[in-house]
Amino acid sequence: MNKYYLGIDLGSTTSKAVIINDRDEIIGRGITNTRANYKVAADIAREEAIYDARFTLLTNRLKAEIDAKPEFRRYMEDIRSVFQYRQFKRRMDSLERMLKKTVSEFQYDNRDLIIAKLDEILSTIMPQIRHEFVNEDLGSKNQFFRDIVSERYNVMVAESHKEFFEPLMLAFDKSITPVENEMVKFNFKELVDESMQVLEEKYRGLAERPLEENKEDWYYAELNAVKDNYKNVELTLREHIDSIASDDIHISNMVGTGYGRALLPFPEDCIKSEILCHAFGAHAVFPNTRTVLDIGGQDTKAIQVDSHGLVTSFHMNDRCAAGCGRYLGYIADEFSISLNELGPEAMQADKETTICSTCTVFAGAEVRELLNNGEKRPNILAGLHKAIVQRAMSLIARSGGVRNEFTFTGGVARNQAVLKYVSQMVKDAYGDVTMNIHTDSIFMGALGGAMFARRNIAAHLPEPTKQTETA
């Protein structure tokens, strides 16, 4: 039987799970927003990583076909997205029930009207979301259930009359948390079947639809291939799906890390400090890493590692959150925009407004003052991003500076503006060092955890081959 290892990183903002095989290769990733119930967050991330692992195994089996035939590649991409939609749909159905139940318990006189309004909203946003999952790339955006729904729900509610606005917002606030905290177990095979049906409809529809002019050739090449051959893909897939679905993804060992690690129902020796895990994960992906900067939700860590990925020293922010992800979250709230929009907007800046406050909360006041004075929003955002990086730079300096190579991890590493300033400032201060940023940067802690799990918590480490590579 194949052996797999699980790492769970329970961060303050997001919970991540990574499954690796016995060659340290990532075969599954799962991520969800951390909520009051840490166990549910961890379970959801883990379940997601297991589904993802099954898809990876499926993809591996179909590797020859995927490499050779565009329709396979396309189909596999699409099915993952639709699969996510089916998961989303289950939870959404639950939310709908909960919303109606909540409203029916309200003391408002116009309860029936509110429910009618609710129906109207849901029947508008549901097809929207379905479309974005099935025909666009919502599935690949790593957005969480709460964000996907609330973004669209809020837009609809904002248009409502005040008499609906309050109860509708209240209903959402009261309903979303219990639904988020529901641990819903999905049947992989069932969900795949449903997804295949959705895809069948989609592709069948394509055959009847005229071509649009605004897409590029390769897009249509792939789509045409699917359109004509999806039945073949389906047949091949069905050959494998049963065995993949019933395949036991046996987790031989697991390690929990991150802020919530102490709350995980793991034995004590399966709990590891996130500092070691981030460093180990980053070093595994970039074996020449000597300095790791991790900007997470609640803390920023500057970590120095040796040639084996072992931590030699680290420094963390204390007493102040101004240098970490939560600062961005707070600022996003101040501007009433989503976290994902912060970076892109900051990139539009023509200069960086100086932000003096070293305190998250005071920075909010400073921002309002700057807006009043007519400063442009992108410039203020650029200044805020720069301020975060400046604080991270001081932490790096305290930990011993940047040594070649430098790897940037954590959720904040996804933010383009932060990346821009990190690159700039590291270069200014330490010259041309190699900088690594990976698309999996947010998963580094969970990856490190899984790697520790595979080594049975530090019992035996790197194979000699790996070391000679890194030496």
Binding site: Y259, K272, S273, E274, I275, L276, H308, L310, V311, T312, S313, F314, H315, M316, D318, R319, R398, G400, A458, A459, H460, L461, P462, P464, Q467
Partner: protein
Amino acid sequence: MAQEAQKEMSMIIQKEMVSDLFNELARAKETGKKVCYTFIPGNLSELIRTFDMLPVYPEINALQSAMRKKSGGYIKEAEKHAHSEDVCTYVKCDVGMMLKGNIGPTGEKIPEPDVLLLSYTGCFTFMKWFETLKREYPNAKVIMVHTPYQENSEITPEMTQYMVKQFKEVVIPKLEEVTGIKYDEAKLKRHLTLSAEAEDWITRIFDTTKHRPSPIDAYFAGVYYIGPINIGFRGTQEAVDYYKELYKEIMERVAKGLGPITPEGEMKEEKFRLVVEGPPNWTNFREFWKIFYDMGAVIVASSYTKVGGVYDNGWRHDPERPLEALAEYCMNCYTNMNIPQRIDLLSKCIKDYQADGYLTNSIKSCNSFSAGQLAMMREIEDRLEVPVGFIESDLVDPRYFSYSNIKNRLESYFQMLDQRRVIGADIKEVEA
């Protein structure tokens, strides 16, 4: 329970010594003894005794208040009187205590000072502190000695003479004036002889950490051990007897192969040996200590236990050169050493006591300790390739002790030590 069972003779002796001192202080008005406020670094304990004065150490009162959970209130009181948030919290705690009636750790009022004797000027705050006290106690005589810093890693004869001149021309005449007692050099020499003896014993005591397991914790228990020699008993037979007894007890532990005593009984397994730089946090001292012993970490040496005198390199009070000895003592206190000297001293501790790691506790409100701490850490890390750790807290302001932050960092640090040990050994094996 466990703690009661572990009460050693030395602890009882120390408790009696301290309570006797505070009783004497409480009766100072009746007995006519003069009261001298002074600080631990560079304290002229023997000279104070020569003039039959009773010492009061404001920073000891502050840390005692913190351990009794009173510092928070005192600090607030001082802040109400316009002492800024950034001022040394020892100062604010002391000022607050004074404003609240100057009730000492034993519950009795601490007498007002007859003399404010500042014999160590390396900490700028000390000067400001006594300026504040001078305003509160206008009748007290202020004696300030300028202590040259060991800028070039040495004490030159000129530096010593400069200080001796101050003793002869300022300190001694003023003390004679306040106490009405004539300076008696023979008496000072007798005290100095006993000082040297106690210094020998305490050096031996802190050297017992070279044993495995270490029989003592040189930081958390160490701060108790330095009590008598620092708070006015240096130069007395009582101090010598205390340290002899303590040494005897420790050697019994060594013979039995026992680890250090903690508030929850004996530490069973020694997993990590550390050298710690910086004062401890006093407001949550027990909690702070517990994080260490719960994880099997023992401190084998600390810079903080050297604030009242550095004896590691063989320096002792020399009764044959009484005033010169006092001068050298002042200049030789830990925070008066320059950064390279401190690095050498701590490096020697790391090597001699086979430490697995070097940890800095950075104190928010202490300039004397904080200046240079990061540079020292970097240099020690580079020189000895020892894993270093860094945590932040404060002396006596409870608002700056974050249990979860410190625990999180220490957990990471200990796991890092563990990982380096286990995996490091694996790697060596693979490479060999």
